[in-house]
């Protein structure tokens, strides 16, 4: 017996089969607030979802090497662009139900609601080399992030031809999306790296509260939000006239796996931690203020003539006002990848993700300053780094990648 299950929701599949699968049992963290699990975020739109849409609690970020031909790449991108809206709607990958074949959908998300899933695609610099004849489509600012002082990068897992960022309020839903999209590309793409993040460290919405990173501090307090239209237009969305017209409405994603020296940090006196960050740990307020969203007064001087927010504190060095007004849209996640097998130290930190209109003039420019002067960098080591061009969103019926092969 064969049956098309296209259009059947994962929940109705569950009901029909009488199976009980508890996604909650597999959740990596305890939910801290009410989440509308039935919330579905539209895949189609002027911009890709997963950029300015409010960050969900869980991330699965995958990078890929393309090992197939130009035609196969074109086919995989088109397939991904067709499958993604099904996944974000909470539907399985459609298949013929014939038990003599492997199932098209891997099934682990059966019965789970959409959970706010977003799927965001990106193209790495190497996709535009000679292999696929795409060199004329390469944006000039899409270059690998240059080495930054203090980096200890794993070259084998840094960069990549393609990326998929899947975010959801249920970790199983995010993993399911990446796993199934990877299967759809089997033979043409191979996974280069996979990062699971649990616990967002930023917000792009005024409706969300700031969360804490593994250092114990609120993160992303002064991030751009979805309502900052003017700033988003200036600092995040690529203008068609910038360079490659196909990138108009798109953006550039920079991903950095930042391992934090949690053991050393935990042993620092609280006041020293606060001086390194430039904020109070409990309230998240800048050292010059009393509330989290107080604007840091970088000119404030203490009673002894020293700056209230130290000269080498993180928020001073990273502040737009000390970086020529440059903004980044941050969307990072905490990660805990167990222990360093050699030392027994935590292999944990922040999977930093940011979006910008020009990675060279924005992220790279700021990161250089951070490495030179930011006191926090003594506790941070980048172990993976990548940059991707995220094309604009797709209209219904539009193929992902069509702009590259036109």
């Amino acid at each position: 017996m064969t049956r098309q299950d296209n259009g059947v929701s994962r929940r109705s599949m569950l009901t029909a089969s009488g199976l009980t699968v508890s996604g909650a049992a597999l959740a990596l963290s305890v939910e801290r607030r009410t989440i509308d699990a039935d919330r579905a975020i539209a895949f189609h739109g002027a911009h890709q979802a997963g950029i300015t849409t409010p960050p969900q609690d869980h991330l699965v970020f995958a990078t890929f090497d393309v090992v197939g031909s130009r035609a196969a790449l074109q086919s995989v991108l088109a397939t991904w662009g067709t499958a993604a809206p099904l996944l974000t709607a909470g539907k399985p990958i459609p298949s013929e139900w014939d038990a003599t074949y492997p199932p098209a959908d891997t099934g682990e998300a059966a019965g789970l609601p959409p959970s706010g899933l977003t799927v965001t695609f990106g193209y790495g610099p190497t996709l535009f080399d000679h292999r696929f004849g795409l060199d004329r489509r390469k944006p000039t600012v899409l270059e690998p992030i240059p080495a930054i002082a203090g980096d200890a990068l794993d070259e084998a897992t840094s960069n990549g031809d393609l990326c998929i960022q899947a975010c959801a309020d249920d970790p199983m839903v995010a993993f399911h999306a990446v796993r199934n999209l990877t299967l759809l590309g089997q033979g043409t793409v191979v996974l280069r790296s996979l990062q699971v993040g649990a616990g967002r460290t930023s917000t792009t919405s005024t409706a969300q509260t700031s969360e804490r990173n593994l250092l114990g501090f609120k993160d992303g307090t002064n991030n751009l939000t979805e309502k900052d239209d003017g700033l988003l237009k200036r600092w995040v969305w690529v203008d068609p006239g910038d360079d490659q017209p196909w990138m108009g409405g798109g953006t550039y994603l920079v991903a950095r796996r930042l391992r934090l020296d949690l053991e050393a940090w935990s042993s620092l006196p609280l006041v020293d931690q606060e001086q390194v960050i430039g904020r109070f740990r409990t309230s998240g307020a800048p050292l010059s203020g009393s509330k989290e969203h107080d604007t840091p007064n970088l000119a404030a001087m203490g009673p002894h003539g020293d700056p209230v927010i130290p000269a080498n504190s993180h928020i001073r060095i990273a502040a737009p006002s000390t970086n020529g007004g440059i903004h980044l849209l941050r969307r990072g996640y905490n990660f805990v990848d167990g222990l360093d097998p050699a030392t027994g130290a935590y292999d944990a930190g922040l999977f930093f993700i940011c979006f910008q209109r020009d990675p060279v003039r924005q992220f790279t420019a700021i990161a250089g300053d951070l490495a030179r002067t930011d006191a926090l960098m003594r506790y941070v080591t980048a172990t993976r780094s990548a940059v991707f061009a995220c094309p604009p969103g797709l209209a219904e019926g539009q193929m992902l990648g069509a702009e590259l092969f036109a």
Binding site: D261, A264, P269, G302, R378
Partner: protein, 292 residues
């Protein structure tokens, strides 16, 4: 008379006691005599013995850092000369001294990783990027021209950064905090990660970093005994534990076994805890001298 900036931890004590009373410190005008501090906050009134112990700790640490900087600069100059004269054996010996000296002065290099990067250099598969890593690539992997090309930059960078190091006066609380960070470097960089990929002389690095921590922290014990006797006892024991674990490496400079790696990492992490406590307890203890 300049006003002594309080160490970060001292501000917490002010908060606890609710009174802000800061007595200005005396800065020796000629720099030749160090005046014990009268800088304090309520609740921290150093006794003469504590002042003497504070002075001893800061002076000992200053000597340690200055000696490391001097040794580094001497070694990289010798290294450059040896490479110019194609004396590879002598250059390797000089590199070893430079490497150990760098480990000794790293915690006090201003600028953090950006400075370390210039002196230590990045690990790249082609040996590019300069610093001690490029020299090691040239000496142990080849060609030696990579080392010869990198050495003049090291000489210049070493001389430049020595200026900052020579002016460094670090107070006991900061000494302890910096050793916490230095132990993190020992665990994540010297023991974990991809240590010394060209020379494979991992133990050389581990011994040098541990020796620096042990020396700096040992000099804090007399003050700790006076201020926080309990943690002082722990500090002494934990330092001995780290010294023993490192001592068991013997004289081999090579790659550590997994058991050796885990043993030293464990001792280092334990030591971080007590040093952090002591860093907090030392808030407000200052020898009264500082350079902005």
């Amino acid at each position: 008379m300049p006003v002594m900036p309080l160490l970060p931890s001292a501000r917490r004590r002010i908060g606890w006691f609710g009174v802000v009373v800061v007595i200005a410190a005396t800065l020796s005008s000629c720099g030749g005599t160090t005046t014990p501090s009268t800088t304090t906050v309520p609740g921290v009134v150093p006794t003469p013995a504590e002042q003497a112990a504070t002075l001893a700790a800061t002076n000992a640490y200053r000597s340690q850092i200055v000696n490391a900087a001097t040794s580094f600069n001497t070694a990289v100059r010798a290294l450059a000369t040896d490479l110019q004269q194609s004396k590879t054996g002598a250059a390797i010996a000089a590199w070893r001294v430079a490497e150990q000296s760098f480990d000794g002065l790293r915690p006090e290099l201003s600028g953090g990783p950006a400075t370390w990067s210039q002196l230590s250099g990045p690990v790249r598969s082609d040996g590019s990027g300069g610093g001690l890593q490029s020299v090691a690539f040239g000496l142990f992997h080849g060609p030696t021209s990579v080392a010869a090309d990198a050495s003049p930059g090291l000489v210049l960078a070493g001389a430049t950064y020595a200026i900052g190091v020579f002016r460094t006066i670090v107070q006991p609380s900061t000494i302890a905090a910096h050793q916490v960070e230095n132990l993190g470097y020992l665990v994540t960089t010297c023991l974990g990660g991809n240590p010394e990929p060209w020379s494979h002389e991992q133990a050389l690095d581990v011994r040098a970093v541990a020796a620096g921590v042990i020396s700096a922290s040992s000099a804090l014990i007399p003050l700790a005994r006076l201020v926080v006797p309990g943690p002082a006892t722990l500090l002494r024991a934990d330092l001995a534990g780290l010294a023993q674990a490192v001592g068991e490496l013997g004289s081999d400079d090579g790659v550590l076994t997994s058991a050796e790696t885990r043993a030293i990492a464990t001792k280092a992490t334990i030591l971080q805890g007590v040093l952090g406590q002591i860093a907090g307890a030392f808030a407000g203890y200052s020898n009264g001298r500082y350079f902005a």
